[in-house]
Amino acid sequence: MMTLNDDQRMLADTVAPFMAEEGAIGKQLRHWRDNGCSDGFGHRLWKQFAELGLTGILIPEVQGGAGLGQVEANVVLEEIGRNLTPSPFLTTAVAAVRALEGSAQAERWFPGIVSGETVAALAIDEGKRHDPAGTALRADRQGNGFVLNGEKNFVVHGASADVTIVAARTAGSPGETDGITLFAIERTERGPEGANFGMVDGSKAAHLSFEQFAVDSDAVIGEVDGGWVPMTRALNAGRAGAAAELTGVAAGATAMTVDYLKQRKQFGRLIGEFQALQHRAAHLYGEIEIARAAALKAAQLLDSGDERAALLVAVAKAKAGKTARLAVQEGVQMHGGIGMTDEHDIGLYMKRQAVLDELFGGPRYHTGEVARLSGY
């Protein structure tokens, strides 16, 4: 069934008012952006996420979590998107948990994630484009462990993370999916090296440099050379989650825009009376419904372990990305001059969309995946 069940609806009914209140733009995004916060999110809010059981949403009950799935995580993410709430939920509670699950590292990091004390980051991209198979950062065996050399880019709140999941090449060459190993690297005084910088949307990301950086072999997640499987699991959870968050961004921006159409008067009429704007708004409504359906389908297939999950994840990420892009562009345009001001919130949606769209692969990457996975 592609409708939410009672439990999922109850979760939405709990999370929606919480995010609208505690995660509101003025209280979180603008507050941290305008006060020079180096993390870009509030740790107190992250604690509140933990109190609601959200940080451990994907963590099995025996390990202290809620034992829920991607569909439930997406319910939370759509509300995060709608309110532009900055938090490490997508990277830590969704993607990193999927990377760590089932490995020895899970025991080490899950308790802190459940309690809202631990933040995790994913260090996968190296160039300016998402290309996980192109992983080139080297990890060579040395003594009892490995030594890492290379660069990582677009590591979301990387410098704030207690643990960073790093994709490194232990065999083969860039472009090959075999020979990649995932490491869970704890942040200590010696690094990894790299400070957070602000992104266009006010979120923080780091550029990490590894130079002769030694790690123990017990930092390996799963099998040496077999990192592609847990990395793909993490990325697909992150992509499906980003699709839900983008749907929320699109819905939030559009709700704001439709409200504006009902208030703003020009030529002696409400601008919402103009058919030129009505049809564009109605088209947008349809696209958002379709994007939401694609994100839900992808989440359901991930949860049931269906072999079509990868295809639908690519569809959902690409569809939600382009839908949200349309929503924020129409949003700014229909707001007119006020939409260009920093004071108005609509521009914040445009900025968030741009970053989320690129995260875990942009629309062209995923459109290419749709073609590849469909066999053409």
Binding site: T3, K262, Q278, A281, A282, G286, A294, V315, V370, Y376
Partner: protein
């Protein structure tokens, strides 16, 4: 064994015994689809036998009551029957506007006499119906229709013209929107049924850009209609029309308009990288829309779909289908522009492509659907 499982076994055995082999092969063309009616020429004995056998069980309209020629099946049983027919790839025994459009309206608004008189003829394929809605001056603004229907005491007198009447030249009867009062636009319309053989009715096929003529112009010149052939109350025909349109849109949007699944996978290897990119971009939208269709059907079942949602689905699905055929034509190159060659099966790709252009016009244009969404879902003013 549950009752439903019993029913499945029964249906399976009966279908196995009664569905001719020929009726389990994929349809080769329009003529393989059986429309019934006085003028119908069966394509084969198998087509005739299949219709008769199914009609006798009431399974041409499985969920209609038995009293009216239906099968009296519960929704769950009707679903099982559909599944069992799909399993042996059985063709639909009868396709008609009587089944898909008039029947549901009669079941809801018809008198007992009307139901007893008209529904069984529809169920067994004896009478073929056509729909008289659009007029030359009333397309998107359907309620602006002017076909005059006067009360002449013992009968109605109808004068006017309809257009885009699907298969009017082959239909036996018409269900028609007529103006019984000019005092109110929506409140002056009645829903009238009459025989196409009545004196004063004439039809003229319209040649379309696809080279086909599925639609007609239909003229009424002093047509006399018995008084008991109005469905619902006089001047309240708009309610019936709206119910029927909603049913039609729901049906259209539930049919997986927009085509199903990946276009690229059906086209095969695409050498041109720009075309491949365009097709992949389309496939993102097409596969996302498939998910939406699935969700919409579940929402309908759970009665949580917004009443204006069929408009969104109709708009998105038809626009997608037009895009699909534009890309198919791009992939086909000059070969797909052939109009009468043998290898193009008499221009099938081009004719199909041209046919899709009507998708976003018929049943309410895209612009009308967007207006409905703007007004009823987004609550925009004056829409």
């Amino acid at each position: 064994m549950t009752d439903l499982e019993n029913f499945r076994q029964e249906a399976r055995a009966w279908l196995e015994a009664n569905c001719p082999a020929e009726m389990r092969a994929p349809m080769r063309g329009e003529k393989d689809m059986c429309w019934g009616g006085r003028n119908w020429t069966f394509q084969s004995d198998a087509q005739k036998h299949w219709l008769e056998a199914m009609a006798q069980r009431g399974w041409t309209v499985p969920d209609w009551p038995k009293d009216y020629g239906g099968g009296g099946l519960s929704p769950a049983e009707a679903k099982v029957l559909k599944e069992e027919m799909a399993a042996i790839r059985a063709r639909s025994p009868l396709t008609s506007f009587g089944i898909s459009m008039l029947g549901p309206a009669l079941l809801k608004y018809g008198t007992e006499e009307q139901k007893k008189r008209f529904l069984p003829e529809i169920a067994c394929g004896e009478i073929r119906w056509c729909q008289g809605y659009s007029e030359p001056g009333a397309g998107s603004d359907l309620a602006g229709l002017t076909t005059k229907c006067e009360d002449r005491g013992d009968h109605w007198l109808v004068n006017g013209q309809k257009v885009w009447t699907s298969y009017a030249d082959q239909a036996d009867w018409i269900f028609c929107l007529v103006r019984t009062s000019t005092e109110s636009k929506h409140g002056g319309i009645s829903f009238l049924l009459f025989d196409m053989e009545s004196p004063g009715v004439s039809t003229k096929p319209i040649l379309l850009i696809s080279g086909n003529s599925p639609f007609c112009e239909t003229f009424f010149d002093d047509v006399k209609v018995p008084k008991d052939q109005v469905v619902g109350e006089v001047n309240k025909g708009w309610d019936v029309a709206k119910y029927l349109l909603g049913h039609e849109r729901e049906m259209i949007s539930g049919m997986g308009l927009g085509g199903s699944g990946s276009l690229g996978a059906t086209v095969g290897p695409i050498g041109d990288p720009l075309l491949r990119a365009e097709i992949a971009d389309f496939d993102v939208d097409a596969l996302a829309f498939s998910a939406m269709s699935e969700r919409f059907i579940d929402q309908l079942k759970a009665s949580v779909a917004h009443p204006a949602m069929p408009s969104m689905m109709k708009y998105a699905g038809t626009e997608l289908n037009k895009r699909r055929h534009e890309l198919l034509m791009a992939a086909g190159g000059s070969e797909f522009l052939e109009w009468d060659s043998e290898r193009s099966k008499c221009g099938k790709p081009a004719r199909d492509w041209l046919r899709t252009k009507a998708n976003s016009i018929e049943g309410g244009t895209s612009e009308v659907q967007l207006g409905i969404v703007a007004k009823h879902i987004l609550g925009l003013p004056g829409a």
